[in-house]
Symmetry: C2
Subunit: 340 residues, 2 copies
Amino acid sequence: MGAGIDDVALRAGVSTATVSRALRGLPRVSPETRARVLAAARDLGYVASPSASGLATGRTRTVGVMVPYVDRWYFGHAIEGIDQVLRENGYNLLLFSLGGYSPGRRRSFTESMVRKQIDALLVLTLWLSDEELLQLQRTDIPLMAVGGPVDGCAGVHIDDTAAAAAAVEHLIGLGHRHIGYLHGAAQDEHNFKVPGLRSVAFRNTMVRAGLELRPEWLVPGDFTIADGARAAARIFDLPGDKPTALFCGSDEMALGAMFEAQRRGIRIPQELSVVGIDDHEFSEPAGLTTVAQKPVEQGRAAAAMVLAELNGSPAAVQETIMPFELVVRSTTAPPPKRPA
Amino acid sequence: MGAGIDDVALRAGVSTATVSRALRGLPRVSPETRARVLAAARDLGYVASPSASGLATGRTRTVGVMVPYVDRWYFGHAIEGIDQVLRENGYNLLLFSLGGYSPGRRRSFTESMVRKQIDALLVLTLWLSDEELLQLQRTDIPLMAVGGPVDGCAGVHIDDTAAAAAAVEHLIGLGHRHIGYLHGAAQDEHNFKVPGLRSVAFRNTMVRAGLELRPEWLVPGDFTIADGARAAARIFDLPGDKPTALFCGSDEMALGAMFEAQRRGIRIPQELSVVGIDDHEFSEPAGLTTVAQKPVEQGRAAAAMVLAELNGSPAAVQETIMPFELVVRSTTAPPPKRPA
DNA sequence: CTGTTAGCGCATTCAG
DNA sequence: CTGAATGCGCTAACAG
């Protein structure tokens, strides 16, 4: 058990230095010697101690991934993508979940986390304060934001403004003039920029089309299905006229709205159109029209960039905009005929 | 940048040994000295290098978590729970996602993974071969299965047999005699025991109630919503009489069945009852009757046990059965009246 | 209670 | 192409 590098050296009849070189594919090792070392290592089941080689090289072959939640659609998929390319390249993934966007739990991280523990950090959909950013940048490990822009830090994400606009324009194109918006949580805007971007896009698109913004039709949620249902209920409960379409800040919220509508006997899309953002796996079965994005790909792209940077590529880490796509299914249709 | 232990020692006017002791809360350090060291460390922003201390102690304060997927309901939540207690105790979480149950990708793990890299391993809902189990046990780090039983390895999970029986009995109690079953994938049974347990429970419960098992009403799926819809479609497409109720191996499959039913205008629960297992966050909004389990709690329990074991508690790691609960909502009702 | 002395296991100069 | 020596940063006896 626990064969060390000397055991391998002994068995191969070479020095530990040669073993180290041979095993890591470095040059200056004759083919025969390398083969002998490889065989010895295999026979002994030798694997270098990460602690020891980490101490010696200063690199851990581990990248940190910081997320607010792991049990939410975007994050689960993004982590999956990140993990794929990390593992393909022999890197480990150290997960830091914050259990929410609350600044309280977050504080303690940034400080100690990075210290000799990870070679790079991927921050998923979290807003970083200037101070935190500075701390991280001083450690000078490659740093990337995934899923939402962070000022002063390269990131990979979709153009949230354009994506939201695409959804709203689809509705407008269908003839809707009374559109409500179930948006991401306002109180999280400090931690997470995406809701804000989408909200602004909604407003701008509406205004540009000459449509009225009804404050009571703009209701905040937290991206969950439960909150989507709750937010939709608030709109449905409103006295007076109702929107003929709902734009939702996430598919989960859209699905929540759909369930709530169904419970009330509001028919979709005959009486109400609903469009979301994400393309959650529930969306296709539910027939939800949405603006699709691919978090797995975003994760892969980000991971690939930080690894390239670690491998010496000059400026591999670059701001990258990933594509989105409007997927029209069966929750959107022209508005019902009725007196304007 | 990169203050070392000697910097702290120098600043505090003590030796590095004392710094080490003081910082780790070990005894044999006077209160004043400890305070001085703490202050110095804080001023310098000192954090011990995990590689160095790992090398010196042989422990990494990191636990590995092996999952088939991170972007699926059970795993996301279980990881969240594990992460919570790990972090509460100053441990790191190293994530190994296999991207599926395929044995191919799995192989390479077990070998090198454990080697001086983690202090304990949590295996989520994966079946381990005898050989793999042996390898892991030889490394003698605490090992635990979460979410599904693994022979020869302590685990935390619900009683899947009883849970499935509870769901089916609920249906039978309502008066259903024609019950279909959308079960977990058969081809995965080699990797994952849960589907098999639930299937056996379904059969036994049916037989015990004197009900007929219709092979064409037992259709396999893979726990996803898409497959739930597909499996339900297969049953709906069958000629002849249809089941009045569907028991689904997971809530996602149940939701898929519901969407498919809705698409065909089959009314739930008037014409068809549906019950799942899990209590997915979509289940409450969807009104799905289900047998609830709490993966976050299971993750927390498992993590707590391996940490206790690491902290020297004799036999902290114990087989533990977590509770489940039948949650009756609005997708189940007595079967429609019709000629038997 | 505190300082000194050795390693932990590997990667790297530098000779050869 | 290969080996011997040195150190990565910290912890763990052992003295004192």
